[in-house]
């Protein structure tokens, strides 16, 4: 057995057996399942609220007479005075006092005021708004001599559906979903590279501060030790990714049938930006299942490339110092290019085929995070993918070369923290 395998085996098992790895591997998808599951449960046990909306009977009979009962609100004309109405809703929590100014009827838009002892739920407000708007609209139509029949005859609603052509076949796409997946995948990449990069660095620093590294490099070439550690941790990252995929797949499969039976209205949450259409969760689940997941095949590829690139630099930073506190100065130039593409994700999403997005997905320090976003949103030409991967490979080879030179000198250096200038000298000089 080559010695590098001995290193890989120890380093791999060392991390995989750690608590944090087990927690992260199992808890992340379980947490995801829990959130999903709780939503389903919550929808089943949701409490139906109901409000009575009190309207001054005298105020605007032409409008109030047209108000119809809704799902959770019902309207009631009241002959009480303004003050008594106020007093009444303050006492009764499920009553709301609605006032509108008469001038609203002459204007293009207007504001209604709801008075209650506490803020009504978003859902109730929406319903009151829609009922009131219908009533006013109805009144205005009648006044303008537009009949219901005429309205119905000219009524028109439009949906826009996006499809992409692939191999002569059209496929439905969901831009919102693709954006979400793009963001998610990119963020996952950033997290995995950052976490495992710093684990690699910590390992290097620990071996140095435990003073075991000199014993190890008397048995194995420092380059092999570095590569062994890097490959082991890269494998841990891949293992974690695979576990997440498998567990998420299981979670989705188990929960999908429950989701299908859900009432779409009940999962609609206040303040949620994307309003679910009539097919609700069912449609979302369908779309997730039908999303073009080939992007996931590229994830490990870009993760490995990015990890070799960043990981080797993290390892070099670790080799240059004696303890983790001193490492700060050297990790900053490594983490900075990692964060940078995250700031440009919106630009890429807006125009995934623009020159800016294409350029970012070619730059090796950014491509692992940016290419996958593009791939989620648009069809990236195969030669662009090949080119970005080739550039990435070339660059990580360069980084490993550089890191190996810093590493083999750095691991034997103790005492004062080196300057960047000294580190450059190690690179130039490293004949060992």
């Amino acid at each position: 057995m080559d010695k590098i395998w001995i290193i890989i085996k120890r380093e791999y098992l060392n991390i995989v057996r750690k608590k944090f790895f087990l927690i992260a591997t199992f808890l992340v998808p379980l947490g995801f399942a829990a959130i999903f599951g709780i939503q389903i449960l919550a929808a089943k046990f949701v409490e139906k609220e109901s409000y009575t909306v009190l309207v001054e009977a005298e105020a605007m009979p032409e409008i109030t007479g047209r108000l119809t009962r809704g799902d959770i609100v019902s309207f009631e004309n009241s002959s009480l005075s303004k003050d008594s109405l106020r007093a009444r809703v303050e006492k009764n929590k499920d009553e709301i006092y609605l006032t509108i100014s008469e001038s609203i009827l002459e204007k293009k838009n207007g504001t209604a005021i709801l008075i209650a002892s506490k803020n009504p739920s978003q859902q109730a407000i929406q319903e009151i708004r829609s009922k009131l708007k219908d009533a006013i609209q109805d009144y205005k139509n009648e006044k303008a001599n537009i009949t219901k029949e005429q309205l119905a005859a000219t009524d028109f609603d439009l949906d826009v559906e996006t499809r992409k052509v692939q191999g002569g076949e059209e496929k439905e796409t969901n831009i919102a979903l693709a954006t979400g997946i793009g963001f998610g995948v990119s963020f996952l990449m950033y997290m995995l590279m950052g976490i495992y990069g710093s684990i690699l660095m910590q390992g290097v620093i620990e071996e140095k501060s435990n003073r075991i590294v000199e014993i190890i490099v008397s048995s194995i070439d420092p380059f092999k030790l570095l590569m062994g550690k890097t490959l082991a941790i890269a494998s841990v990252g891949i293992t974690q990714f695979l576990m997440w995929m498998i567990l998420s797949g299981v979670v989705m499969t188990v929960l999908a049938p429950f989701a299908a039976g859900m009432d779409p209205q009940s999962v609609q949450q206040p303040g949620m930006e994307v309003q679910m259409d009539e097919e609700g969760m069912q449609a979302i689940v369908y779309e997730i299942q039908n999303f073009d997941w080939t992007i996931l095949w590229y994830f490990p590829l870009y993760f490995l490339g990015g990890f070799f690139l960043y990981g080797s630099l993290f390892a070099a930073a670790g080799a240059a110092v004696d303890n983790i506190q001193d490492a700060q100065q050297f990790t900053l130039p490594v983490t900075l290019p990692m964060i940078l593409p995250m700031l440009f994700l919106l630009n890429i999403i807006q125009n995934p085929n623009g020159v800016f997005a294409i350029s970012l997905s070619m730059i090796p320090f950014f491509s692992p995070m940016t290419m996958l976003v593009r791939m989620a949103l648009t069809d990236v030409a195969w030669y662009e993918i090949v080119l970005s991967i080739l550039i990435l490979i070339g660059s990580f080879l360069g980084c490993i070369w550089l890191a190996a030179r810093i590493y083999r000198t750095g691991i034997l250096m103790y005492g004062k923290k080196p300057t960047f200038k000294e580190i450059f000298r190690w690179v130039r000089y490293s004949r060992n």
Binding site: K3, I6, I7, R10, N210, R211, I212, E214, I215, I216, V217, S218, S219, I220, D221, P222, T409, L412, M413, Y414, G415, E422, R425, Y429, R431, N432
Partner: protein
């Protein structure tokens, strides 16, 4: 026969010449002391012998063949600054380090078991290193250095930080290994240990080799015609003696420095004919410490540890 030969080796770091054209011959099956003050280049030489670093110039021969990576299988190295993985179990740790030397898992396991028993650590085999006392950790360190039966054993300040009981135990094992034919390089700046343990020494200072020889030869080489005489009788006799300088005198012994015109044999002759009772007469050989000071200067011995690479 020389087991290890270092020929004209130099090594510099940055602008600092750590080792300057040093040649060493380490005889087979002997304990070879590599001495010198801190910063003399001992660690730099050792790192080249263990293959951790490569000489800028010069050659190293291991048992007659040019030093190569595969020789690490035959080498055991215990650096001055040493440690273990604190979270790893004792047994796993030893097996790991021995596997890296090239032993199969089975061989490594057997060797680890034998040695743990020998150094009375069997009960601790499945404990984490961090649970062990410092002395026990040092034994574990020693086991992982020697359990693969290296032909060349390199110990850099092996006794530093050892309690007397463990020091004695390790010393016994070092002698055992010498008996079995292992060549041992022993680096230190503590002279009393060298005289006790080493057969052969090399003295380094500022990256250069000052001397290298059999330890008795070295002491003879640096003798200054000083004789020590144990006697009984009238001490005024010594003051009347010609051609010698009395360096130290008590009622029991006299230290004499002979001038160049007189030999030891001549002095013996005079003493035989004297009224004194003579119990012993010997050439006083200098202690290594004295030689060391003479060669590198007192200042260097007490110099503060420089952290070299």
């Amino acid at each position: 026969m020389d087991f290890l030969k270092v020929e004209g080796v130099s090594k510099s770091y940055d602008n600092h010449l750590a080792v300057n054209k040093v040649s060493l011959k380490v005889p087979q099956g002997k304990i070879y002391g590599l001495l010198g003050p801190n910063g003399a280049g001992k660690t730099s030489i050792i790192r080249m012998i263990t293959g951790i670093t490569v000489p800028d110039e010069g050659k190293i021969f291991f048992n007659g063949t040019p030093l190569a990576r595969h020789h690490t299988r035959e080498t055991g190295y215990m650096p001055e600054e040493r440690g273990l993985y604190p979270k790893m179990k004792v047994m796993e740790q030893i097996i790991y380090l021995l596997s890296l030397k090239g032993l199969s898992t089975k061989e490594a396991t057997e060797a680890a078991k034998t040695w743990l028993e020998r150094l009375e650590l069997s009960d601790w085999a499945n404990r984490k290193t961090t649970d062990l006392s410092k002395g026990m950790q040092q034994k574990v360190q020693f086991i992982s250095t020697v359990a693969h039966k290296p032909q060349l054993l390199i110990l850099d300040e092996p006794f530093s930080g050892l309690d007397p009981v463990n020091a004695q135990l390790i010393e016994k094992e070092i002698f055992n290994m010498k008996e079995e034919g292992t060549t041992i390089i022993f680096s230190t700046h503590r002279m009393e240990q060298v005289e006790e343990l080493c057969d052969h020494i090399a003295l380094m200072s500022k990256g250069q080799l000052m001397l290298e020889n059999d330890i008795q030869e070295v002491r003879k080489q640096f003798q200054k015609n000083v004789y020590r005489v144990e006697y009984k009788g009238d001490r005024s006799f010594w003051e009347r003696m010609n051609k010698v300088e009395v360096l130290e005198l008590t009622d029991k012994f006299a230290m004499l420095k002979a001038s160049e015109s007189i030999t030891g044999k001549d002095i013996m002759q005079i003493l035989i004919n004297s009224p004194l009772e003579i119990f012993s007469f010997e050439l006083h050989l200098p202690r290594l410490r004295e030689i060391f000071i003479e060669l590198v200067g007192k200042k260097n011995i007490h110099s503060k540890p420089l952290k070299s690479i």
